[in-house]
């Protein structure tokens, strides 16, 4: 043990350095914690929160029942029962749509997979419940979440199908698909 180390030992030098560190934190008190229920942190822009189903501006559901979200989901959260729109054999919709949010890992793959942007991730995260069956959501609940989280809805553009336009049997009130 060198003389310097010996002096440091008997004067509790290391101890004093440590005490100084804690004291400086006390004097320059700046807490990094937050009083959560009273103050909430700003969420990042790409925050992925609760999932929801969206509507067009005229109130119709966007979902076309294609099942791609169900296929994309890695934890098998989603279950879609697809059906034809009554009276319009070319169109389909989701007759039933269930999400078991107890399994969801909020990866956002279903949102990416959706071809008509019918799914959206809201910024809600306070979804603690006492009964986990309350996290098994049906279509109405998911649409309600979308309604309260996305007040600005996308305008529905129904376009002339290019094939019928070619055969000149088109509906006159529908616009052409832009190039």
């Amino acid at each position: 043990m060198t003389f310097k180390a010996w002096i440091r030992t008997i004067t509790f030098y290391e101890l004093v350095v440590g005490m100084k560190a804690t004291m400086s934190h006390l004097l320059h008190y700046k807490p990094i914690t937050m009083q959560y229920p009273h103050e909430k942190r700003a969420l990042p822009d790409n925050y992925r929160g609760m999932l929801s189903l969206l509507r067009y501006d005229d109130g119709t559901e966007k979902c076309v029942g294609c099942d791609l979200c169900e296929a994309a989901c890695p934890s098998r959260v989603i279950r879609v029962v697809s059906a034809e729109v009554p009276g319009e054999p070319t169109k389909r919709y989701s007759k039933e749509y269930y999400m078991d949010m107890t399994r969801c890992l909020f990866c956002g793959l279903c949102v990416d997979a959706c071809p008509v942007d019918a799914l959206g991730m809201t910024r809600e995260y306070e979804w603690s419940v006492y009964d986990k069956r309350q996290l098994h959501l049906n279509k109405e609940q998911l649409l309600a979440i979308g309604d309260r989280s996305f007040p600005v809805r996308e305008k529905q553009l129904e376009l002339q199908h290019p094939n019928v336009a070619f055969f000149n049997v088109a509906f006159k009130h529908l616009p052409q698909k832009p190039d």
């Binding site: 101890l15 440590g18 005490m19 560190a21 804690t22 004291m23 990094i32």
Partner: protein, 364 residues
């Protein structure tokens, strides 16, 4: 009213006042520890109960009072109930000989009483050493009667630790006793009157300034051993969370648990009081006399004395928290080696040196 009745009544009032002061300090400490610890770790500490969480001790007390009292299967029920009471009583009665304020007397109905010390006995230091040692019994009993291996290990560790460090406390005090020539805490404190250079931690002779009789090594040994004796971090081996769950009070709950915890805090306060009285001049201000005396309020000087005593005690209590925020826990062999191979030789050498200096440079 007979004289005995009056004496009993006065003693009862004094004890009640002292108990409530100590329990108030304990409550303040439970909050202060959590707040200061939080601030030092960039947290806020309790914030919910009352403004800035200042009513937290009250909420804790109510919670612990209404909690279920669980006695583990196979526990020795009588001992299990006795242990927290023993610890609590022992850590409270130590305060009987602590002088909180100056050595003045009051006349009440023909009785002469000392308002700031419950019992000014002439062996105050020995009494405190004896009482502090009995505190270990409560811990060992609690550890043994719980019928749990963690509790038992915690209790045994506590026994070994208290024996090792009690010795250092006793030897560190001897230097002070040599200087003051008395075992009474009141007389020891009075021997340090007249400015901080007469405190035993500085140790000037009554007519000088040079620290010829300095007890600073004894002071360091006493404070370290005091931290160890109250089972505080970094010497909290008996209740090491990472190894022994909670040590000797693993199996305790409700009010019994509260007794153990408040006994720990009360013994912290006791050690702080003793350290302040022995080494930092007790109620004496760091300047000669008192300010109240100079400006002509002789009869109010006791307020200043009490404020100084409280300031010293709270300095030590803050240091307990500060140490807890800073230091990690010692390993058990390190603890024992430090006690026996470092502190004990220092304390012994301090006795010899102090004896020699007192012999060659007598204190008037």
């Amino acid at each position: 009213m007979t004289e005995l009745g009056l004496r009993l009544a006065v003693s009862f009032v004094q004890i009640l006042a002292e108990m409530s002061i100590v329990m108030f300090t304990v409550a303040v400490m439970t909050l202060a520890e959590r707040k200061v610890l939080g601030w030092m770790q960039d947290r806020m500490g309790p914030m919910e109960v009352g403004p800035y969480g200042i009513l937290q001790p009250l909420a804790d007390g109510v919670k612990l009072f209404f909690k279920e009292d669980i006695v583990p299967a196979g526990a020795n029920k009588a001992m299990f109930a006795l242990a927290p009471m023993l610890t609590m009583v022992v850590s409270m009665i130590g305060f009987a000989v602590i002088p909180f304020g100056p050595d003045m007397t009051l006349d009440i109905g023909g009785l002469t009483i000392k308002p700031f010390v419950v019992a000014d006995i002439n062996i105050g230091i020995l009494y405190i050493l004896a009482i502090a040692s009995i505190g270990a019994y409560g811990i060992i009993l609690g550890g043994w009667s719980s019928n749990s291996k963690y509790s038992l290990l915690g209790g045994l560790r506590s026994a070994a630790q208290v024996i090792s460090y009690e010795l250092n406390v006793g030897l560190a005090i001897v230097g002070v006793l040599l200087l003051s020539g008395s075992l009474s805490l009141v007389e020891i404190t009075e021997a340090q009157a007249g400015g901080f250079w007469h405190w035993f931690v500085w140790g000037a002779r009554p007519d000088g300034f040079f620290p010829i009789h300095t007890q600073v090594f004894a002071f360091v040994v006493f404070v370290i051993a005091g931290v160890a004796e109250t089972n505080r971090i970094p010497f909290d081996l008996p209740e090491a969370e990472s190894e022994l769950v909670a040590g000797f009070f693993t199996e305790y709950s409700g009010m019994k648990f509260a007794f153990f915890v408040s006994a720990e805090y009360a013994s912290m306060v006791l050690v702080s009081c003793v350290a302040a009285a022995l080494f930092l001049g007790g109620w004496n201000a760091p300047y000669p006399g008192t300010i109240f005396e100079y400006i002509g309020f002789q009869q109010l000087a006791w307020i200043e004395h009490i404020v100084w005593f409280a300031a010293k005690v709270y300095f030590f209590l803050f240091m307990f928290i500060w140490l807890r925020a800073t230091l990690p826990r010692l390993r058990y062999d390190q603890l024992m080696r430090f006690g026996w191979k470092v502190l004990l030789p220092i304390a012994l050498a301090n006795i010899i040196i102090t004896a020699l200096t007192v012999y060659f440079f007598p204190r008037g």
